[in-house]
């Protein structure tokens, strides 16, 4: 089994969609990205989270597929549904605890991230992890990750009584991360509720010791 692992580090994600644009270049899913970018509520945060197939050790999508259309390779990459077998029932879509597979009516088929099997099977990195500007997506060995990076890679998840181990790691940040991005919290007291009316046109022009300059 390949030593290479896939890491998702949402704290580093800059929301640029480079991963989606690169993924959509693939000839197997022409123009359609199989990686998705989830947004926190944009009104409150610039946080974004990229999401690929987690490539579970015991993939629920495959377990619930009535047509046995979802196969896994020897190195544990869970593939998109086989076109000739897929019956478009969407069992996989509703059963995946990570919400990854999607059904494409125009193809009448479930398609999802197969970790760029055309690339990874010949020693290349997945397209999304290759281009990701901030390395929010990282492809390498666990040792390589741990020697270079902060954060704790996690690949065991509990959904109720179901424990799932994945080939893809999510990176939990070290320490507490405040996802409230309100700029108000970083301004001085004049911006406290009721203390400052920012529509007062002359508020910023109050007397300053250096007004007009010293030179």
């Amino acid at each position: 089994m390949s030593e290479m692992r896939f890491f998702i580090d949402p704290i580093r994600c800059i929301g640029c969609k480079s991963c989606m644009q690169a993924c959509s270049e693939c000839a197997t899913h022409k123009g359609k990205p199989m990686i998705h970018l989830e947004y926190m509520e944009r009104g409150n945060s610039t946080q974004t989270v990229p999401m690929v197939c987690m490539h579970c050790e015991n993939p629920t999508c495959a377990a619930v597929c009535p047509a046995d259309a979802i196969k896994r390779t020897e190195d544990l990459v869970v593939q998109s549904s086989l076109k000739e077998r897929c019956i478009g029932c969407k069992n996989c879509v509703v059963s995946c605890p990570f919400g990854v597979p999607r059904y494409y009516p125009e193809m009448d088929q479930m398609m999802k991230c197969d970790m760029c099997y055309d690339r990874t099977s010949v020693g290349l990195k997945p397209m999304c992890a290759t281009v990701c500007p901030s390395e929010a997506l990282f492809y390498g060995t666990l040792e390589e990750f741990q020697s270079r990076r902060k954060g704790t890679p996690i690949n065991t998840f509990e959904f109720g009584e179901q424990e799932i181990k994945t080939r893809v790691f999510l990176v939990a940040p070290d320490g507490y991360v405040n996802l409230s991005m309100d700029v108000m919290h970083h301004l001085d007291g004049r911006f406290d509720d009721g203390a400052y009316d920012h529509l007062d046109p002359f508020a910023h022009l109050e007397a300053m010791p250096m007004s007009g300059g010293l030179l």
Partner: protein
Amino acid sequence: MAKVPLTQQEMLDTYGPTLHYTPAGGFRTVEDYDRLVSTHCCFCGQQCGINLKVKDNAVVGFEPRTEFPFNKGKLCPKGVKRYLQGSHPDRLLYPMKRTAKGYERISWEQALEETVQKIKDIQEKHGKDSFAMLSGVSLTTEKSYLVGKFARLALQTANLDYNGRLCMVSAGAGNKKAYGIDRASNSWEDIVKARVIFVIGSNIAECFPITTDYVWRARDQGAKLIYADPRMVPMARTADLYLPLRPGTDSALLMAMLHVIIRDGLTDEKFIAEHTTGFEATKEAVKDATPEWAAKITGVPAKQIEKAARWYGEAETGMILHARGLEHHTKGVENVVSCANLALATGKIGREGCGHSTITGQGNGQGGREHGHKCDQLPGNRDITNPEHRKYIAEVWGVEEREIPGKGLSAQEILNEIHAGKIKGLLSICFNPLVSLPDANFNREALDKLEHYTVIDFFLSETAQHADIVLPGSLQEEDEGTTTSGEGRVIKINQAITPPGEARKDWEILLDIAKRLGRGKYFPYQNTREIFEELRLASRGGTADYSGITWERVEKEMGVFWPAPQTTEKGRKALRPEDLDANHPGTPRLFEGGKFYHPDGKGHFNAVAWRESAEVVDAQYPIWLTTGRVVSQYLSGTQTRRIGPLVDQYPNPRMEIHPRLAQKLNIKDGEWVTVKTRRGQITIKALVVNTIRPDTVFVPYHWGGKQSINMLTQRALDPVSKIPEFKVSACVVAKATPEEIREGEEAERLASKTEKLPLNYGLGERRKEFSR
């Protein structure tokens, strides 16, 4: 004169922007291409390495270029989809002439002859300087050098300037004042080694995405990140310290930081004594600039300013990074030297993990400005008013010194003079001032007054639509040459395909015009390599010395950092390019050992006094307006607004507004709003986000026509750099009226159209189109 002949709808139908989605020949498997061409992205100043897939003389895709040291395969979405500008339905394929009914196809012979005749007529009647030229830094350094020589010797006009004027000139002027040289102080590898990184006025995640990796690599090793910006941009979100300063108050913040550093004894006295001048005056200038004083101006709490100053001052190593947020001001140069004052006072420059760098916004903003198409410079970053500099260039060019015109007008000043009727004719190449310059309505009026306008471009941009003669030029991948990245790394652009249809290489077009103007003897080049060889000689001895750099070295070493001067006596005296040596290793890190580029070898402090922006808010216009970019668009959008997947990411401009201000104005997320300044108004949709200061609204600037925020910005210029104050205007925001909403919807409808092409629209069909 130069009024657009067709309706907006007719222009859109014929010349786009058309949203292009599908590569020539459809999507391909990993191996389905003829060859890979190693080159670089055509967009921002990071100039990432990329491999273009080529099949049947068309660029059909990309492959990451993982061996290139700057980006190691990483690309932003613009880099990924850049190849889609090739084989594009809007591509200009033959020369055109404007008639009362629109544009008609004409021959190259007619197009060039009419252009040259107009140049002659106008210059005979009104003098040489009445014909101006505007250039762009998407051009390679070779082409930039050629444009500089062409304007001075073929057009014989002083009035040549370039779109880098809207980009980094404040940084260039500030760096020259402080350090005597105009370049980022270090290669990006020093960011990784810094213990503290201070980013001010730069949305690196959206404008320079690969730089975020360098910052993260430093943070993995424990570096602290301080981020100053009016918006909680994606990298500020995770910063160790965030300073949401009010637009236009950068120098107040920086002065207060220096005040704290001096007050708390965090200066490097030995470095100051041995390697700098002017410290006492600067110390005096920040004497009263307490954090409390700056807090009132900036809105940033005093204790946070103190913390930023101490973090930066106490750290063993540190980098300051800034971009247009700091530089697009009437005091852009003062802001830049204020950063330099911090670096010099703490001795955080010229050694590992230390530096002060501006981030180049435009592709070849660095190389383009060094070698000639800036109104006040000659090749090698030479001063056009310096008699010795003029004499040397005159010798290289084989002309008398007096034949080289003097300092001309800057970009906005050229438009002002066109508006005033003093400049009558214009030739432009790869510059879209109607979208990128401030006060767009004024500039549109100016273009309408031109007696003649010829444009060289590959798409019919908003500005090009005003041209009398359109000459189809070349895309970056259709020619070869060099560019210089924001790091100062000279890199090689390789030709992947030949220009389609009747389009030609830009330099060939300029050579043809020069020949017809009777000045052909000064332009004897057979190819762009010969231009580079002459550029090496011309730059020798200037501060931007490229004389030790060859194309071969650039290819082999994956870029060479300038300056790379001559190392042998023979090279220093050579009169022919072939006698120059190429021994110098290049200079990734400037100022090592505290050696600066001023004649005295020292770094210069520059005392700055705080002053307000050219326009401040008042009762009538009570809200600060600031502008910037989004990740999926590039500059005036001439290229990126034609690439479907990029447009889909952020289809139309939206106004970011804080919920608190939105509530006061009774505006909800997604509602139409009208933003108005003294110059004009725009109706767009609101994006209610708490990631912006509550007294400020933000609108990105990549769109044209009625979606252009530059209708609202002002023409006030920095007195030294002549950069316009894009980042600060006073505006009023209100819910849009039904009539305004109709206009806004119409503007969105006319912004672009989707291509009507089959999925597998093949190369055969493209060729038929090209030969139409």
